[in-house]
Symmetry: C2
Subunit: 235 residues, 2 copies
Amino acid sequence: MRAARDQSVVEDYVKVIYAHTEWQPEPITTSVLAARLGLAASSVTEMVKKLGNAGLAIHVPYGAVELTPEGVRLALRMLRRHRLIETWLVEVFSYGWDEVHDEAEVLEHTLSDRLLEAIAEQLGEPSRDPHGDPIPAADGRVSRAEAVVLRDAPEGSVGRIVRISDRDPTLLRYLRAEAIALDVELTVLGRRPFGGALAVRAGAVEHDLGDEAATSIWISIGESTVTSGVPLESS
Amino acid sequence: MRAARDQSVVEDYVKVIYAHTEWQPEPITTSVLAARLGLAASSVTEMVKKLGNAGLAIHVPYGAVELTPEGVRLALRMLRRHRLIETWLVEVFSYGWDEVHDEAEVLEHTLSDRLLEAIAEQLGEPSRDPHGDPIPAADGRVSRAEAVVLRDAPEGSVGRIVRISDRDPTLLRYLRAEAIALDVELTVLGRRPFGGALAVRAGAVEHDLGDEAATSIWISIGESTVTSGVPLESS
DNA sequence: GGTAAGATTTCGGTGTGCCGAAACTCAAGA
DNA sequence: TCTTGAGTTTCGGCACACCGAAATCTTACC
């Protein structure tokens, strides 16, 4: 009976489904979802069916998985929690930005709303987390810089780093050591031949970035901002 | 597989077993344990057997349940977590002492050691929680005031309130409204006839306390302190 | 010492989320 | 159009902590 009220599995699925479309448009497939969650594909198929019954997701068999508005609301709630907690750990407890993910992964499911909102207030309702990901407001609104992933940025373009994916802590440590951080201005110099590294200039220093780095860094070429979101009410 | 590494059920059992002997000597029975945990007696019997196999408890069938040194270590660790979290919620987030229990009950299982110790440091390593319960040190030592439960205090005795059980939030709110709090000096005036209320004086005010209150308040009639505990190392 | 009441354990069974293997679907290329 | 293999779902099964009912043990009292 314990798991009956343990919402956290559902929360994880929904969060990952949503996050997948946050910086690119393709909806997620069950196998990618399985890989992200570290589960067998068969488990995910079953669970996605349950999400469907719960009104959180829509899944055409053999097709992609998409969230209902209800699912989006829950996902935004979880993303708000995750990112507020990450920010809090960095600001209040001096965690490194490469050290916050695992702790947030657990706490996002267990802090009460009351405590979470108290923390948000102490932090002054921040709008982005230490990696540049937007923190949804309590009402579900999200505002983020319009951005392209570095790999797809045209040669010669100049932009400000607005997001660095937190998927790989090793990469985060490397980037920090190289002084590649949020809000740093980057110039895309060009790509080395034969699918090689991407050459960029950050400040006065030039770097050759591998594919993992080039797909983890997002730059904003301009100052436009996108606002979206679904009200959180019934979550 | 999720529950395989979910230690929190074990942690709850061990914590309750230990807490039962914290302020009185009788070891706990499976039925009392079941009542405290809100579970069926049969479930507890089974789980206690597993605690035995795990080397955390000793249970002679049909007898009481006692912790091994290993079990005590885990229990102290959990009590430290629970009570530090309660203290933290009161100090940093202005929770009322009647509001902290449920949140702590969840978070004690989910905060990392790193975060917990950071919190302890911010609080200045407190030695007792908002209800007067001792907070075990990180090394497992416990120091608490020697105390008797109010119901058993001899008539005429004078003592300082050193602990108020947090089991019933309603009672806590009532006591707060009556200005009966930690460190208040209490005089036991006597018992009303026929198992009636216990009359006490707190400051200048007299109160008639029912049995629930009289078994929830502990007073120290002297200044002696008891230190105990088992090193926490391998927990 | 026997016995009944109460406490405790055993037993069969449940829901949940997970897994691997087998069966199935679909789309791309021949 | 047919084939094929990658991707997906179905199926049988597992571990876990739990439950109620039935069986068993203990203890207190006669």
